[in-house]
């Protein structure tokens, strides 16, 4: 779907390929929490587009609205005003059931913690969205994803029998399996040590490069962000800039400017 919004935003996408449909996009997105004195303007007129097949990181100081933006984008939360598209579908108009369906078919998630259902095995966790949709698992793709992630011999284990890194990899596998329009990650490596974190990040990097998977990741870690094609910077509920394939130094410098 090509809309005026996207075109206007496409120019802001420095990586060329301006004619490809955005994996996710927003237009004039506003979100407030609370009322009166405690009122917080968490998102202020956010216009952003995330390119298909790219790995984008969202950065910014604590409380700048990163998680809020991601939750709205993923259809987990509702915005006050503005529009949101996922893979060309405007989701702001969908009801709860339609949103749920969209999530299980076209969106993948990797959270910081509590990623897995503790009563299910790794395999069951990975196939959960497909099972929920009542679809059939693409066996070959499943084998490819799990072996690439090094989970092949861990499939019958339950979450508490897996290490933190393994649990995150299971979550990544789950997100990849449905070949969603976009995968969202909210500090997916926040709880991992740097070695395991690097493992998960390079995995995400590879799935973007090799499988053309669109990924949007919220992170505080400049090293993590340096795996991304593009870094979007937020401050105080608004977009304040972006970096193209930045290095760690570059990111640190940009963040320092934001006072983070």
């Amino acid at each position: 779907m090509t809309t005026s919004t996207e075109q206007s935003l496409a120019s802001g996408a420095p990586n060329g390929s301006g004619n490809s449909t955005a994996a996710a996009a927003t237009q004039a997105l506003n979100k407030t929490y609370g009322t009166g004195d405690t009122r917080v303007h968490a998102l202020k007129n956010v216009d952003v587009a995330f390119q298909s097949g790219k790995f984008t990181a969202i950065m910014g100081p604590s409380g700048s609205g990163k998680s809020t933006l991601m939750h709205c984008l993923a259809g987990l939360d509702t915005a006050d005003s503005g529009k949101i598209w996922i893979g060309g579908t405007e989701i702001t108009a969908l009801n709860d059931n339609q949103l749920t369906k969209l999530r299980r078919e076209r969106v993948g998630f990797v959270f910081q913690a509590f990623n897995l259902v503790s009563t299910l095995t790794a395999e069951q966790n990975i196939t959960l969205p497909i099972a929920l949709a009542g679809g059939t698992v693409d066996k070959e793709w499943f084998r490819y994803v799990t072996s690439t992630l090094g989970l092949a011999d861990r499939l019958t284990h339950r979450p508490h029998e897996l290490s933190g890194g393994q649990q995150q990899r299971v979550a990544v596998a789950r997100a990849l399996l449905t070949r969603p329009d976009v995968i969202f990650g909210d500090e997916p490596t926040g709880n991992l040590d740097s070695k395991v974190g690097a493992e998960v990040l390079s995995l995400l990097r590879r799935s973007a490069t090799e499988m053309g998977q669109s990924i949007i990741m919220v992170t505080h870690d400049p090293v993590a962000a340096s795996y991304a094609d593009r870094v979007v910077l937020m401050n105080d509920g608004a977009l304040v800039g972006e970096l193209e394939r930045p290095g760690t130094e570059q990111i640190l410098a940009a963040l320092a400017k934001l006072g983070a």
């Binding site: 987990l76 709860d96 999530r103 299980r104 259902v117 299910l120 969205p129």
Partner: protein, 840 residues
């Protein structure tokens, strides 16, 4: 720590609501039970005491010697006695210009101090005057000054004659109708003693109801009582009793009810079950609450709270909840009873109903509720103290129950099951309910103790059925046994009620079947109509056809004599049965061939020679275990020996050879329908009711009694079941709280709201359904063994399972499970995925 407990209760009031609800119901039930007895007595006292409510002492007749004027004179001189009122009553006929009827006439008291009447208008009657009750006055349009005629109640052929020849009287007052049971429900008149004496005759003599005494002011009642008793004895009325009004009421009520104490005991047994179930629910809820607060408790321990303080904090919570819930329960019970009494008071037959709130009932309700709640919280409180301070720093994983204690409990439970089963078996074998009952109770308690052994595996097994429902089904099955201890306790609470209900159902059904087989042995057919019609005619084929036209009659056959024989020294007709008529027999195993004749039990014959019109034949006798079975042979043989002419009206065998009409009726006719059918038949066939008898009629009457009993028992047990369902809802909603993050994750991953709701509903249904399933199984077994123990000596007990009722129990459990999940599921589904994930 009190602060912590208070904060807990205040902040998590919602979590305590279910605990409170369970306690409220149990306490309410218990208190109401205790009030039933007191209120019954108060109501009866209100009625019984109406006739002597102002007397200081009441004298009533001994068993042999009625009180009379002589007795009155004897006590009048006793120390302290001021006034004597010999209360007399007789039955009178009365007439006014337009109306006539019968009523009760009582004399008025000689002095105001003993007067029991409540004047509405007018003045107490003097000579030639009567007071009349307000209801009668209204019905007959009587006012003060109206004229009436009276005559002895039994002497008049028709009340109408009274108006012409009776003793006239003027209405001097309208009074409130007395609630005295011997006056109620009929026209009430009050006049002078002289008036009564004039109206009494041999057939309706004056009866001295009592002698009522007014004591002089300042007299010691006990002393006066002794003096009066002595005076009575001296006068020859040693067996008469002397009571105060209150004592007299009590005595009469006790004579009336006799059984209310037993009723209270039975009701108390049910209340006890409710209290037990509620204790289980409370204990379970508290352990869940503790489990959820492990981290918080550990934190308290970290910052220096001692074990004792933690335990006390939990117990204070229990105490708070117990007190509040018990007070509400007692108030609820009082309100309920007040409501019932108010309804009763509004009805003319029971307007004497009175509410009694005995302090004992209130105290017992409050104490039981509080003690039960605190006791039930003891184990969870102890569990709370075992939380290690370090737990605060560990990830919140389910804390497993201590193993040693669990093993002891299991061992104890298994021992009880085995021991109880042996005793129960012995009781059943010897058909001794007194042995079987403790055995059954023992084994049941044992089973409850080891519920963790069989409940979770069964839930898992049944949960496999939910697999086809996809992810929500699978998850529900897993979640239902996530915490086996919790699941077992939840199911156990429900199990108790269901087992008892099903036990009653099975017992009733088995008793019914046993009784029916007894009946079919007693009576040859559903309904048989014998003897002559009222006009002296015999029943004939036309009668059979008429009978068939009635609703409910399935088949009819006229059976007639096919020969004559001598049985027990009496000439009698031997009836012939066509193959079609054989279908009418209750006992379809009876066969008639060419060589046999069926005879009622006790003939002592091996063979019987039956004479027909063209010959006779010797038959083998087959005895039927019934006394009311007429001699029967097959119609084919009757043809062979020649069907004889009907017996002559003056012959010896005439009455035992009259044609009989046999009917079979639809099985589903209830008692009322059968009684109606019986009177319709009696009218249509021109016979008397008593000529129509048979198994169907007795069966219906018996079934009606069983049905009513079953209904009452089920209703009483329903309270326990309801409490258990509160437990199911509670456990579920607490589990839902625990699983908030997981629910949110599932929602984020694509579980729809409805799927989430369905998942929780399924979980509740699984737990409730399995509890109902186990309860049904156990209840059937106990019911069967119980019936064997209770009825084994009277009849052969054949197991009979009330499948339909079992299905109903299961259906109710499933629906109730669904209902129990509504609130928790709504709360879980309302949560947006983000909110849930945020509460890390």
């Amino acid at each position: 720590m009190l602060q912590v407990a208070l904060a807990q209760v205040k902040q998590h009031a919602r979590r305590f609501i279910a605990v409170a609800l369970a306690v409220v119901m149990a306490v309410g039930f218990l208190t109401a039970t205790l009030m039933v007895n007191a209120s019954t007595e108060a109501s009866l006292g209100n009625s019984v005491g109406a006739g002597f409510r102002n007397a200081d002492l009441v004298l009533s007749s001994g068993p042999d010697k009625p009180l009379d004027e002589q007795a009155a004179e004897a006590v009048a001189d006793a120390d302290g006695v001021a006034e004597v009122y010999v209360q007399q009553q007789t039955h009178v006929a009365f007439g006014t210009a337009g109306e006539a009827g019968y009523g009760a006439l009582q004399n008025t008291a000689p002095s105001a101090g003993l007067d029991n009447l409540e004047l509405i208008e007018g003045a107490l009657p003097g000579s030639g005057e009567v007071a009349v009750d307000d209801a009668t006055a209204e019905r007959l349009a009587l006012t003060v000054g109206s004229k009436l005629e009276f005559a002895p109640g039994a002497g008049m052929a028709a009340a109408e004659d009274v108006a012409a020849s009776g003793i006239p009287a003027t209405v001097s007052a309208i009074v409130k109708a007395s609630k005295d049971p011997l006056m109620m429900g009929q026209p009430q008149f009050f006049g002078t003693s002289g008036f009564i004496a004039a109206l009494a005759d041999e057939q309706a003599p004056v009866q001295v109801r009592s002698i009522q005494l007014d004591l002089a002011a300042g007299t010691d009642t006990a002393a006066a009582k002794d003096a009066v008793a002595a005076a009575l004895t001296a006068a020859g009325f040693a067996e008469s009793t002397v009571n105060t009004a209150a004592e007299q009421t009590k005595e009469v009520v006790a004579g009336f009810t006799g059984g209310t104490d037993q009723l209270t005991i039975v009701l108390l047994a049910f209340a006890l079950v409710a209290v037990l179930v509620s204790a289980l629910v409370v204990a379970n809820t508290f352990s869940v609450l503790i489990a959820q607060r492990t981290r918080e408790l550990a934190l308290l321990r970290c910052i220096g709270a001692g074990r004792g303080q933690i335990r006390r904090s939990v117990l204070v919570e229990a105490l708070l909840v117990g007190v509040v819930a018990s007070v509400i329960g007692v108030l609820g019970a009082v309100g309920l009873m007040a409501g019932i009494i108010a309804v009763l008071q509004g009805r003319p037959d029971t307007e004497f109903a009175a509410l009694a709130v005995p302090p004992l009932a209130v105290a017992v309700g409050l104490v039981t509720g509080v003690v039960m709640t605190v006791l039930a919280a003891l184990a969870p409180a102890r569990a709370a103290t075992t939380v290690a301070p370090l737990a605060a720093l560990r990830p919140a994983e389910d804390v497993r129950v201590g193993n040693r204690k669990g093993k002891v409990r299991l061992g104890f439970g298994i021992a009880l099951v085995v021991g109880g089963a042996v005793v129960l078996g012995l009781g059943a074998l010897n058909a001794n309910l007194l042995i079987a009952l403790p055995g059954g109770a023992m084994s049941f308690i044992g089973l409850l103790l080891c519920a963790t052994l069989f409940v979770p595996p069964l839930v898992t097994a049944v949960g496999a059925l939910a697999r086809p429902l996809g992810v929500p089904g699978k998850l529900a099955a897993v979640n239902a046994v996530r915490n086996p201890g919790r699941t077992s306790a939840t199911a156990t609470a429900l199990l108790i009620g269901v087992t008892l209900v099903v036990m009653m159902m099975t017992g009733a059904q088995t008793a019914r079947t046993a009784f029916e087989s007894e009946l079919s042995a007693q009576y040859p057919v559903d309904i048989s109509i014998g003897n002559l019609a009222e006009d002296g005619g015999q029943l004939d084929e036309a009668a059979a056809e008429t009978a068939l036209t009635y609703d409910g009659v399935a088949a009819a056959g006229l059976i007639t004599t096919g020969g004559y024989a001598t049985v027990n020294g009496q000439r009698t007709g031997v009836y012939q049965l066509t193959p079609a008529q054989r279908e009418l027999l209750q006992d379809q195993s009876l066969t008639l061939d060419a060589d046999t004749v069926l005879l009622a039990e006790g003939s002592g014959l091996d063979t019987l020679t039956v004479t027909g019109s063209s010959g006779s034949k010797e038959f083998q006798v087959v005895e039927v275990s019934s006394f009311s079975f007429p001699p029967l042979m097959s119609s084919a043989v009757a043809e062979e020996i020649g069907v004889p002419a009907p017996a002559a009206a003056d012959s010896e065998e005439y009455f035992s050879a009259l044609p009989q009409l046999w009917l079979s009726v639809d099985r589903d006719l209830d008692a009322t329908a059968l009684m109606e059918l019986r009177s319709e038949l009696a009218a249509g066939l021109n016979v008397q009711d008593y000529q129509i008898s048979g198994a169907a009629i007795e069966r219906a009457a018996f079934n009606q009694i069983i049905d009513v009993l079953l209904l009452v028992v089920t209703g009483l047990l329903a309270v326990a079941v309801l409490i258990a369902l509160v437990g199911v809802a509670n456990t579920l909603s607490l589990s839902v709280l625990e699983r908030t993050q997981e629910s949110s994750l599932l929602r984020a991953l694509g579980l729809t709201r409805n799927q989430l709701r369905g998942m929780l509903a399924l979980e509740a249904v699984l737990i409730a359904g399995v509890a109902a399933l186990i309860g049904s199984g156990l209840g059937s077994l106990y019911g069967r063994l119980g019936a064997q123990s209770a009825l084994g000596t009277f009849t052969a007990v054949v197991p009979d399972v009330p499948w339909l009722q079992l299905a109903a129990v299961l259906a109710v459990a499933v629906v109730a499970g669904l209902l129990a999940s509504v609130m928790p599921a709504r709360r879980a589904a309302r949560l947006s995925p983000v909110e849930g994930l945020a509460t890390v």
